[in-house]
């Protein structure tokens, strides 16, 4: 007898991610992932000046504003065929790296750690033992007895006042929670510290981007950060050194806290390593360009098929036809008029809502495909592509995490375990560590380039008559993001954003191939159908971000989310 579980938050007027799973014999037998709203960015952009597109696209999401802004200017620059000054490239890179550090830290601690950490159990911990354990694993100075005692007292006060709302749906006391009390306490302490360090990373975005969310310093052709080392109003030595200090602090947290906590969680949940594999075709794009044209990169991109690292094929430039020609989107199972599979430049968006029909159309999310195949995107894709290509920092940090987790679990862990729910978390930490080094490297490159007397930040250009087409990509915190633009006589004729969460959360296609969320849930254990913690663990490991739309507060406290078992 199978049972249907529906997880459907209805926090916003149009809702967002809905997950349906069919459970039989304590495990998931089938799954459907559905986006419960539609984005019509192309409807909004048609006819506008392509120079304005980045301001609009960064509003389609409130969390990933920076990434849409960057990708949009890259797409228009690609259409125009222009190169941007090296300073502009490096300033964008530092913003990208800092935003990524902020985002990965928040995802692990604030958004997903509670799937593994039992907050209430931390109250039973011996703070001195927690401190001793932490100090045996890391040189981080903020793991002292004093710190652990203070956190425990603060938490006790919170629980006493009934303020556990912050940990809502944390499923404390669930049978699938397995960390010792001391590790739980340590995690709560780092949860609070993470709030400080994500902010520190984000301050870098603000210093260069003027504001975040919604940076203001971009332009098609470069950036608007005037450089004059003697002028207090521009980018100068004082600001540059402030940025360096902030990046160093964020890097220390990532390398000494985040990575260690990840390894500990993975080691203590080693029984989870077989779950959550799903789609093992991977797609990542190269990022952090080192030149004006976008032909040399510090982060690798490419594809891998069927979990075979030997199949790796590199994506080599901002203009690589291997990426450009192989992306398409299918609407066979999505609420749009028709059932086509088209290249983004050729798409239209005509919504046609019919009810949730698991055998027909059931999502607002289109199903992106690469050479017709579903692909998993995200940090795991980039780490695997980098590992397969022998990318030194990725290999070094990946081996370090596998070794730390393996020694804690008293077993040897190979990169093959990364094809899993926990592997996606591990890869995000590995990528954060790589980014923390590269952020400082690109800071150094920027300072050296300015030191040579180069203060150029913008390439002037003009629209040609007639039609031009472009695409821009960015390896965002959630994975491969691409924008596709068709410009006719200087106006936007078509615009499509193929976002990471559509690659991962997309529905089945015309051939019935499941999207990554759907595929990876199959086989997941379910201990308690009323509290499907295991489903959330696997979905959260992708760092879903679908809500690129609506935000409305409900102050009356009506039902905000539901978990239904049918």
């Amino acid at each position: 007898m199978s049972k249907r579980i529906v997880i459907d938050p209805i926090t916003r007027i149009e809702g967002h991610l809905r997950i349906d799973v069919e459970v039989e014999g304590g495990a998931v037998r089938d799954a459907w992932s559905s986006g419960q709203m539609w984005r019509g960015i192309e409807t909004i952009l048609k006819g506008r000046d392509p120079r304005d597109a980045w301001l609009f696209t960064q509003r389609i999401c409130g969390v990933c504003t920076t990434v849409h802004a960057i990708t949009s200017v890259r797409a228009v620059e690609n259409a125009l065929g222009i190169e941007i000054p090296l300073n502009a490239q490096l300033i964008r890179n530092i913003i990208i790296a800092a935003h990524c550090l902020h985002d990965h830290i928040v995802h692990f601690y604030q958004l997903s750690a509670l799937d593994w950490v039992d907050v209430v159990s931390a109250l039973k911990a011996d703070p001195d033992k927690a401190a001793a354990l932490a100090e045996s694993l890391s040189a981080w100075p903020r793991n002292s007895k004093h710190e652990m005692r203070a956190v425990k007292a603060k938490l006790a006060e919170f629980v006493e006042r009934g303020q556990l709302g912050i940990f809502a749906n944390g499923y404390w006391g669930h049978p699938a929670m397995k960390l010792p009390a001391e590790v739980n306490l340590l995690a709560v302490a780092h949860y609070l510290q993470a709030l400080e360090y994500q902010k520190i990373a984000n301050q870098v975005v603000t210093l260069l981007g003027s504001k975040t969310p919604n940076i203001q310093n971009l332009a098609v052709g470069g950036v608007a950060n005037a450089i004059n080392l003697d002028n207090p109003a521009t980018l100068n030595m004082d600001k540059l050194y402030k940025i360096k200090g902030l990046l160093e602090q964020a890097a220390a947290f990532v390398q000494q806290v985040y990575l260690i906590d990840l390894a500990a969680v993975a080691a203590m949940y080693a029984d989870w390593l077989p779950y959550g594999k799903g789609v093992t075709n991977y797609l990542a794009v190269p990022d952090l360009p080192l030149d004006r044209a976008g032909k040399v990169f510090d982060l690798p991109g490419g594809t891998i098929f069927n979990a075979d690292l030997g199949t790796v094929k590199e994506i080599k430039s901002f203009d690589d036809p291997y990426f450009r020609d192989n992306v398409s989107e299918s609407i066979a199972r999505a609420w749009y008029d028709g059932d086509w599979d088209r290249h983004p430049w050729e798409e239209d968006t005509v919504p046609k809502y019919t009810d949730f029909n698991p055998d027909g159309k059931y999502s607002w999310v289109k199903a992106p495909r690469f050479q017709g195949k579903p692909m998993q995107v995200g940090p795991l894709a980039q780490v695997l592509v980098g590992y397969a290509l022998g990318h030194e920092p990725i290999k070094r940090w990946a081996d370090a995490v596998l070794e730390t987790a393996g020694s804690l679990a008293k077993t040897k862990l190979s990169p093959a375990i990364l094809h899993s729910t926990l592997g996606r978390h591990a890869a995000r930490g590995i990528r954060a560590a790589v980014m923390s080094e590269l952020a400082l490297k690109h800071w150094q490159l920027l300072v050296e380039n300015i030191g040579k007397g180069d203060t150029d930040i913008f390439t002037p250009w003009q629209y040609p008559r007639g039609e031009i087409r472009g695409f821009g990509f960015h390896e965002a915190p959630r994975g491969t993001l691409s924008h596709w633009v068709v410009i006719r006589d200087g106006k936007i004729a078509n615009y499509q954003a193929v976002v990471p969460s559509t690659w991962n959360a997309g529905p089945r296609d015309a051939k019935g191939q499941k999207g990554p969320y759907e595929a990876c849930l199959v086989g997941n254990p379910i201990a308690d159908a009323e509290r499907p913690l295991e489903v959330l663990r696997t979905v959260h490991s992708f760092d879903p971000c679908l809500a690129c739309a609506i935000h409305t507060l409900d102050p009356t406290g009506r039902e905000l989310s539901r978990v239904r078992t049918l």
Binding site: I7, P9, T11, I13, H16, L17, I19, T43, I44, G47, R48, D49, P50, F56, R59, C61, G62, V63, T65, V106, H107, Q110, L111, K154, F158, Q163, G165, I166, A168, N169, L192, L195, E196, K199, Q203, K211, P213, N214, Q462, Y463, R465, G490, L536, V539, H540, P544, C545, A547, A549, I550, H551, T552, L553, D554, P555, T556, G557, L560, S561, V563
Partner: protein, 193 residues
């Protein structure tokens, strides 16, 4: 909780954060950002008051709230009242609402950001929400006539609340042009070769 802002605040403290929340691409959901731009165009605020359009930020709210003594939020609200109704909610009423399930980084919103700050030790001592009931939150920028008609009332509610805290807000004699860039008509300003 109550009283003039300067009382008990350290020198230079007592920051007031006025934030507009909402998606400018989704009709009336852009109410908060719209009101923020109008406030900036029509009033002069003392240095201690920051007035910011934050879009739909999730936990990115935290740095803007952190260290603020008072938080004033302008947003749309889901209520069983006619579109255009403006309602003011106080901290206690807001904080009583249940928290949502966590599926995406948008799910921790205002309430969760406040909870986290408090657990860390530094929440604002007062939170006020000025909310409007939206009429249309479909795809596409631009407020409905009904929501537009509620803008003055929402602005008055913000200014009045600041006044009750002893914060002086001065009406500009010559209002600036409000920067509602998302409602600009579709125009092409480029040059062609």
């Amino acid at each position: 909780m109550k009283g003039k802002l300067d009382e008990g605040d350290p020198p230079g403290g007592g920051r007031v954060a006025v934030v507009g929340l909402g998606n400018v691409l989704m009709g009336d959901d852009g109410f908060g950002p719209f009101v923020v731009q109008q406030l900036l165009a029509r009033f002069e605020f003392p240095d201690r008051v920051t007035v910011t359009d934050l879009g739909t930020p999730g936990l990115d709210l935290i740095p803007f709230i952190d260290g603020a003594a008072v938080l004033v939020v302008v947003d749309t609200v889901a209520l069983d009242e006619p579109p255009g109704a403006v309602r003011v909610f106080r901290g206690e009423e807001l904080r009583a609402a249940p928290r949502s399930a966590r599926l995406s980084p948008h799910d921790p919103g205002l309430l969760e950001a406040l909870d986290m700050l408090e657990l860390g030790g530094e929440g604002p001592r007062e939170v006020v929400l000025v909310g409007v009931v939206p009429q249309r939150c479909g795809v596409g920028p631009g407020l409905s006539e009904v929501a537009r008609g509620a803008v003055d009332e929402a602005m008055a509610a913000v200014v009045e609340h600041l006044g009750s805290l002893g914060v002086k807000v001065k009406r500009r004699e010559e209002p600036l042009a409000a920067d509602i860039w998302w409602e600009d008509p579709v125009t092409f300003r480029g040059r062609q070769t």
